[in-house]
Point group: D2
Amino acid sequence: MIRAGVVGATGYAGAELVRILAGHPDMELTAVTSRQYAGVRFDRVFPSMAGAVNLVCEEFSVDSISEKTDAVFTALPHKLPMAFVPDLVKQGKKVVDLSADFRFGNVSAYELFYQPHTAKDLLSSAVYGLSEVYADKIKEAAIVGNPGCYPTSLLLPLIPLLKNKLLDIHSIIADSKSGVSGAGRSPSLTVHFCEVTESFKAYKVGNHRHRPEMEEVLSREAGEPVTITFVPHLVPMSRGMLTTAYSTLARKVSEADIRECIAEFYAGRPFIRLCPDNAVPDTRNVRGSNYCDIGFRIEARNNRLIIISAIDNLVKGAAGQAVQNMNLMFGLDETRGLSAVPFPL
Amino acid sequence: MIRAGVVGATGYAGAELVRILAGHPDMELTAVTSRQYAGVRFDRVFPSMAGAVNLVCEEFSVDSISEKTDAVFTALPHKLPMAFVPDLVKQGKKVVDLSADFRFGNVSAYELFYQPHTAKDLLSSAVYGLSEVYADKIKEAAIVGNPGCYPTSLLLPLIPLLKNKLLDIHSIIADSKSGVSGAGRSPSLTVHFCEVTESFKAYKVGNHRHRPEMEEVLSREAGEPVTITFVPHLVPMSRGMLTTAYSTLARKVSEADIRECIAEFYAGRPFIRLCPDNAVPDTRNVRGSNYCDIGFRIEARNNRLIIISAIDNLVKGAAGQAVQNMNLMFGLDETRGLSAVPFPL
Amino acid sequence: MIRAGVVGATGYAGAELVRILAGHPDMELTAVTSRQYAGVRFDRVFPSMAGAVNLVCEEFSVDSISEKTDAVFTALPHKLPMAFVPDLVKQGKKVVDLSADFRFGNVSAYELFYQPHTAKDLLSSAVYGLSEVYADKIKEAAIVGNPGCYPTSLLLPLIPLLKNKLLDIHSIIADSKSGVSGAGRSPSLTVHFCEVTESFKAYKVGNHRHRPEMEEVLSREAGEPVTITFVPHLVPMSRGMLTTAYSTLARKVSEADIRECIAEFYAGRPFIRLCPDNAVPDTRNVRGSNYCDIGFRIEARNNRLIIISAIDNLVKGAAGQAVQNMNLMFGLDETRGLSAVPFPL
Amino acid sequence: MIRAGVVGATGYAGAELVRILAGHPDMELTAVTSRQYAGVRFDRVFPSMAGAVNLVCEEFSVDSISEKTDAVFTALPHKLPMAFVPDLVKQGKKVVDLSADFRFGNVSAYELFYQPHTAKDLLSSAVYGLSEVYADKIKEAAIVGNPGCYPTSLLLPLIPLLKNKLLDIHSIIADSKSGVSGAGRSPSLTVHFCEVTESFKAYKVGNHRHRPEMEEVLSREAGEPVTITFVPHLVPMSRGMLTTAYSTLARKVSEADIRECIAEFYAGRPFIRLCPDNAVPDTRNVRGSNYCDIGFRIEARNNRLIIISAIDNLVKGAAGQAVQNMNLMFGLDETRGLSAVPFPL
């Protein structure tokens, strides 16, 4: 059994990691850290896991985590991981970091949208953990920067099309909608039930930090600079993310062409599901799972593609993809621990 | 007091009309019709209105409605109203029809997306009831085709900009999100609580019947044919509609220019509220009210405008705008009966 | 116009007071205070009220409020009001306090469950503001202690029966369910959307501070000490409160007897609605309104009464009843400002 | 592998059975029937299961099901199963029926609340499938009547106490709250999203058909006739059931005594979780799992016990307990296929 630890286990992404790892057939959860709940049994913080998780939350220390684990998931706010991940890597640990700290190849983009980077040396060896696209590099990596939820939801449907030069790269608009868990577990007025229910609104219009992350990857795959318009919205639901992307087509293609392009690119990758004709993705269908469902339409009159993806922001958008990446890093089948069937409702 | 009747009073738009009219200072609700509940007290169907509405639902007949009312609101599925609205108009009644039957100037567009029109004669005199834009014509009309909810949410923010030639008319994309009440009160799997909650999805992608309605009005205001991309989505909430529209700018303008353009166009119109800088519309802020809140950003790097509107689909998107139109038709202040302050939560 | 002020206007009860007063035909809202938002326009805090409320939040001071208002609503946490309400009363202001500070006749009960009382002199003249029961005293009062939401929901259905000796006073159980707004607007994990949605749970089992408040009033009306069992629960909704109360019947009575007892007691009181036979209260029917809907069944096999009430916890359970009380204190009709028809959905 | 079939697979309980069986390590799902969707791929009806379930829905026939399966789950409305379950049993199949048809020992109680019973011969050999209480008999049974959701939620906490004579059996009141999925998948106004959200109400007050089912079992365990008061309520959530039960204590006991009584009775049974002191059950903690969480308080002043249980109505209240029973019938560990860790949110 691979010994796994979760640093920052009592946020939502952290707790979701704990849930998945508690049922992982090849990994054993051996350490959970939490500053806020140090000394408290994990199942007192998350009673849903009583009977499944017997660990007590501990304060993080490099020594303790290094001693207890082989695989480390860091689920902390950006800026914190880059302070200690280099030490973990030196200890020979494999690390999947869920913050933004190791996602960017271009350090100046990171520094523009976040803060000065204090572990630049590691950036060149860190791999962007979009599992279906960069599996080969992930398998060799010691440190993986796990993608943001919005980037995952946009990049998975777009990359096959970009690589095949099907899109006018100046025309891409991503209108995304996220459940509330994406805002994290810390209390604030933004996530107050009474402020969210029966409310729908955009936020950080054109200005969200996931945009430069998307643009870096899209530009890399397109081979030229891509700028997009990105507007996230908040949906009165707990989990789930839907991105509706719009792009002018670069050349005349049929819906069958689009289907084939995507199907071929993701052949053999079990977490990508292309919706049947006439069906569209629904966040409900991927809830609690690592699936990314994709559907699309061509609007011939405007020569425009409408392509839609649905993920669970906490699973494929965070903890699930992180486990998928760690599976790859340890040479396991990428589906290990991730095969739960989503609820029918 | 103007005597008002609601035909089709037990659907959601009909019931909302009843609610508003029950509190209208210049109108008295004198008849409610319902095929399904004929003979049943209205407040047994909608117990929230016990104490406020004492009417019994009756079967519709032209004679009875003509005798009892001066102002008629028809809140029935399309196709039904065009069969009898001509008779009501002949009886001298003023009619606001909430179906699509009297919204189109171009009968062939209507017939393409709906069915053969059986009251074409009336179409030329019917006025499209977008209150803030066509108030002058509405005041003179005998029959008003009340706009669809999606068209209202898109047209109100776009028309001032179109008229001022600020938008590239080939670039307009409307990504709309609606609460469930827009699907009506008839039971179906689509509106089952368990299918809706924790679900977010698109529907009728590129193919919704409100698109031709929007395009007809946009084309008229732009003075040339406008085709748009329109994708509606279903939000797990009861009331509310948000439209996020994207358009390339036709020329270099500042956010202040956009603000001035809209503010000037709607000067003195109390139901249009421009969000302060840095604020964005939220459906919660207009819930139960006739307001349309509008906010926007210019994304200079892409020369693109992002403009967002929020309405209550049952009020400004249906019953509220209908009452506003009837107020105009009877020479009343347009706000009569519509001044309830929206809930803070 | 009576000049009205709301102290603590940016909590949920305070904001609801502002909403109601903004539409009150006989009161003019002249001051709103908020420590957190002092200096900020009220409609920037609650954008739903843009266009209806033009005031700026101010820091509270006795002098300023005394100068600007005739009627003062205090919507602050308990302990704060008793520090300054005596001064307001001395200035001749009429005060409705929404905290617990002026609800108890028995100061030792208050001190047992809250803290030492610093305005005991005022307690004897303060009137418990259960409008339908104590209207006569309220009309004469300078200071009214507005009832808690749970007490309102239990006392209104039970008092007529207690006064008529129909209940076994040792058998009363109140199983109450409240929407989340009852927990207030301050952020906490308890009110985080993701912790509330798809969750139902009890809290403060047998131990809630509204229990002694209920028992004091029930004992007064019964003429002997009443102890009850009270369990509140949290419902994943924003507004609304339902109490299902159980009691063994003290003597053999029919459902018609119960109906008559309640109907007679509340004859002419417009906010009490008895559900028709076979119907039951639903929080949706009273949402946003000052109604209290009551329904019941006798279970003959167990000689037990099941009686159910529904209120909007923010209206009849807080701000609405407060305005109703102030109406009474100023000799107005009790329905002034409170006649909005509840939504059909 | 045991070959398993689900009859009535496209209702909510049926689909939940399919979900669980699709991940069961010892059972293989070999047939799903559906009248409404015969001929349609199951994953077109429930796209969440695409990739996990490849079956096509078929019309039910005894011959086909007998040929394809060893274990049959019938998830149909009552009355239908008793028509064909005898034939399945004759074919040597083991059957767990989720309807009420095989729950009652007392046929006249069944006939009073349902309809004439057409398979009375089988009733004496059918076992009531409350897994933790009747495991020994279930292991020997050919046909198990799977308990109703409300009965499961009440019986599990009460039976240990009743058997130990701790409760005054004339004082039991069960105030239950259920998510909407309990009403099934058929569309109706009752389950319309707009009628449910922001609504809380009781239904079938004192009159629900699960009451006689509970009373039969309680009476059997108490050794004398028990009558209870039972009021179910509808919660605006999809899954989950909470029962708050009240009973006068038959003798003086401490909370530690109660805890010990329950813990001892369920020793070694992994799906019963007793909440730690000061904690209470929350439906969120059991969502998607087969757990029943139990918490309680003694109210000494009234000599009353308040005991609360939480289950997922579709899992422990239906499909999960059904699989648990089938595990027992086939000599498997009762947890097989049921060990998914519930979500933290």
